[in-house]
């Protein structure tokens, strides 16, 4: 069972992700801020991080850079509200990239793809 860390500042979105991804068979832990995410990363072992680019008063990209630097084997999928982030080369550090949508199928597919690449099963 893969352990996922969800990082999003919107409580409802964290809830939605947690429910939907738990239904898919993942162990889900949600963090509301970059700081909380870092703390969680210190204590738990995760197989993948689903990270919102825009966090309240924080940059998801900075957190992404930190994860890449400190835990370069941990894959990260970026979630954004605006597709122009695709052109921001900083976002290229991530392993996957999805535009936020009420239909979470794309995110689920991307999680499967990235984990398969890392050979981790749900």
């Amino acid at each position: 069972m893969a352990n996922l860390l969800i990082v999003d500042d919107e409580a409802n979105i964290r809830l939605l992700y947690s429910q939907e991804l738990s239904d898919e068979g993942y162990q889900v832990v949600a963090a509301a801020s970059a700081l909380e995410a870092v703390e969680r990363l210190e204590t738990d072992n995760f197989d993948l991080v689903v990270l919102d680019i825009k966090l309240k008063n924080e940059s998801g990209i900075e957190l992404l850079q930190r994860i890449v630097k400190e835990r370069h084997t941990l894959p990260v999928i970026l979630c954004t509200a605006f597709s122009c982030y695709k052109d921001d080369f900083s976002a290229w550090l991530a392993d996957g990239y999805v535009v936020k949508s009420s239909d979470l199928q794309e995110l689920k597919d991307e999680i499967k793809r990235v984990l398969a690449k890392k050979q981790i099963k749900a």
Partner: protein, 540 residues
């Protein structure tokens, strides 16, 4: 004593002296002038003087001496007068040339005046002249213009035309510039093409004339072993004058003049006159050349300013783009997140509701409407994005200059001297400005990190086929092959290594845009980072 001639009479009639011509009638009554101007040459007077010699009068011998002396002095006076007249007209001509040359800065006009002055009958009357000028790089003297007839037929036709016209030198030159200059430039193309001589060929007659600052008259060139016969063969004459053109010790060029049609000898006086003439010509040519170069520089400057303005407009456009990006991303977040929550939970509820649940249709409506709103939002955001394309044409040299400026202070602190050699010839490159400037900055930072004891950083831009090559060279510690490979390995591999993310990201960025990136060691130490950028849209 009976005199044969009328010299003793105060006044004479027309029948008495056959030597007084039309228009000189006043001499009949002007005794003194008549004796000095006419009688002195008259054979009958001379006979009377010899009669006087036999008379035993002591004055008769003295008179004979005085007469002989007087005649000799008269001949000398006339010759000096002739010389003086020639010099006066020459001075007048040179003054005219100088005045005309002083008032012109157009190279073609200066050339027209100079060459007309040498070859026109109203000027120095040489048959033909060639102008050779030192090239911009100051390596060679090159044939620039030839003026004169090619054969007898053309010569007589031209001289006949000029002879009948009553133009001043300036008018002749203007006329020549308007009608003749372009054809003359072509006419002697074959000869001019063979007259290129390196400035360091010190033995060549052109360089000897320039070095000695004196004209050289070449005579009998085909039979003179001391001379280069090749030049005489090219010109088709064995007598010609080589006139150096020097302005303030600067070698401007050489004029070759000859009389290829009339074969009239070139005199010392011709040489002296042409030498005097060469000074204002050399000065005017130098001034006109400088002016022409200045015009070229001004044109370049104008083009650069235009380019700069275009770039400024693009920067403004980019700033607008950034602003639009900020606004749209803010809209995207404030609308997309609630939509996602509404639609997402509706889907969850829908999945868990029974097939016959009557509320299911409400949930389906929420899912459908949310999806529709998300699609509209995506369309609007995509449209705003398309208004400002990220890829555009940019001046790479400008990008390099800006990037260096940003890092100038840190380079100075690190004791690194930065040099650039940016080719002005390179075309605009089609790039994402932000990304490429990130790459250049990253490479410079990496290069600087390898020079912890200070050193030298060199940036070059050159045209490379249908692309542009940017080379960044450092003098720091040479990277090992493994390090080079690791630094530019595909991104995911490097991520695992955990170092050198910067350069591998550069490689990813560059290759995604169809460009290439390589690092090689320099033979004497240091590294060369090469980026090849594409210039045309269709190459991408």
């Amino acid at each position: 004593m009976d005199w044969e001639c009328c010299w003793s009479k105060t006044e004479i009639s027309r029948e008495e002296c056959p030597y007084i011509g039309e228009g000189e009638e006043d001499l009949y009554a002007a005794h003194r002038r008549r004796v000095v101007e006419k009688c002195i040459e008259c054979p009958r007077f001379k006979k009377d003087v010899s009669q006087l010699k036999g008379s035993g009068d002591p004055l008769s011998d003295v008179l004979a001496y005085l007469l002989t002396e007087f005649q000799e002095q008269k001949v000398q006076m006339e010759s000096m007068l002739g010389f003086l007249n020639t010099r006066t007209s020459e001075m007048k001509f040179l003054r005219e040339v100088s005045l005309v040359l002083q008032n012109t800065i157009d190279l073609d006009e200066v050339l027209s005046i100079a060459m007309t002055a040498i070859t026109a009958g109203k000027g120095f009357g040489m048959n033909r002249a060639f102008l050779l000028m030192t090239d911009k790089e100051r390596r060679n003297i090159k044939g620039y213009l030839g003026v004169g007839p090619k054969d007898y037929e053309e010569a007589w036709r031209t001289w006949d035309d000029i002879g009948r016209s009553n133009f001043t030198l300036r008018e002749l030159a203007k006329n020549f510039q308007k009608t003749g200059l372009s054809t003359e430039k072509v006419k002697f193309h074959d000869i001019l093409g063979q007259l290129t001589v390196p400035l360091n060929d010190h033995g060549h007659i052109f360089n000897r004339a320039l070095h000695g600052k004196k004209p050289i008259l070449v005579e009998n060139a085909l039979n003179n072993p001391d001379l280069d016969r090749g030049l005489a063969r090219i010109l088709g004459v064995d007598t010609f004058l080589v006139m150096p053109l020097i302005s303030r010790n600067r070698r401007i060029g050489v004029i070759i003049a000859d009389n290829c049609i009339t074969h009239k000898p070139i005199t010392l006086q011709d040489m002296q006159s042409l030498e005097t003439f060469a000074f204002p010509v050399a000065f005017a040519l130098e001034r006109a050349s400088l002016y022409e170069r200045l015009q070229e520089e001004v044109a370049k400057q104008k083009a650069a300013n235009l380019k700069l303005r275009e770039q400024q407009e693009l920067i403004v456009k980019m700033e607008k783009m950034a602003l639009v990006g900020k606004i749209t991303s803010s809209i995207a977040h404030s609308i997309r997140n609630p939509l996602m929550v509404i639609g997402g939970f509706a889907r969850t509820l829908l999945r868990s509701s029974a097939e016959n649940d009557e509320k299911r249709s409400y949930l389906e409506s929420i899912v459908r409407e949310t999806r529709q709103l998300e699609d509209v939002l995506s369309e609007v955001l995509d449209y705003s994005e398309s208004l400002f394309p990220v890829m555009d044409f940019w001046d790479l040299n400008e990008l390099i200059a800006t990037t260096i400026q940003d890092q100038a202070a840190s380079m100075e602190r690190a004791g690194i001297a930065c040099y650039t050699e940016l080719s002005p010839e390179i075309p605009m490159v089609r790039i994402d400005y932000k990304q490429i400037s990130y790459c250049v900055k990253t490479i410079i930072s990496t290069a600087m990190a390898s020079m912890d004891q200070g050193g030298e950083l060199r940036l070059e831009s050159v045209l490379d086929g249908d692309g542009v090559l940017l080379r960044i060279m450092d003098s720091g510690a040479q990277l090992t092959e493994t390090a080079q490979e690791a630094l530019t390995a595909p991104f995911f591999q490097t991520q695992e290594m955990g170092t050198g993310v910067g350069l591998s990201l550069c490689k990813t960025i560059l290759e995604r845009q169809g460009n290439s990136f390589a690092i090689v060691g320099r033979p004497g130490g240091g590294n060369v980072y090469s980026i090849r950028l594409l210039t045309r849209k269709e190459n991408l």
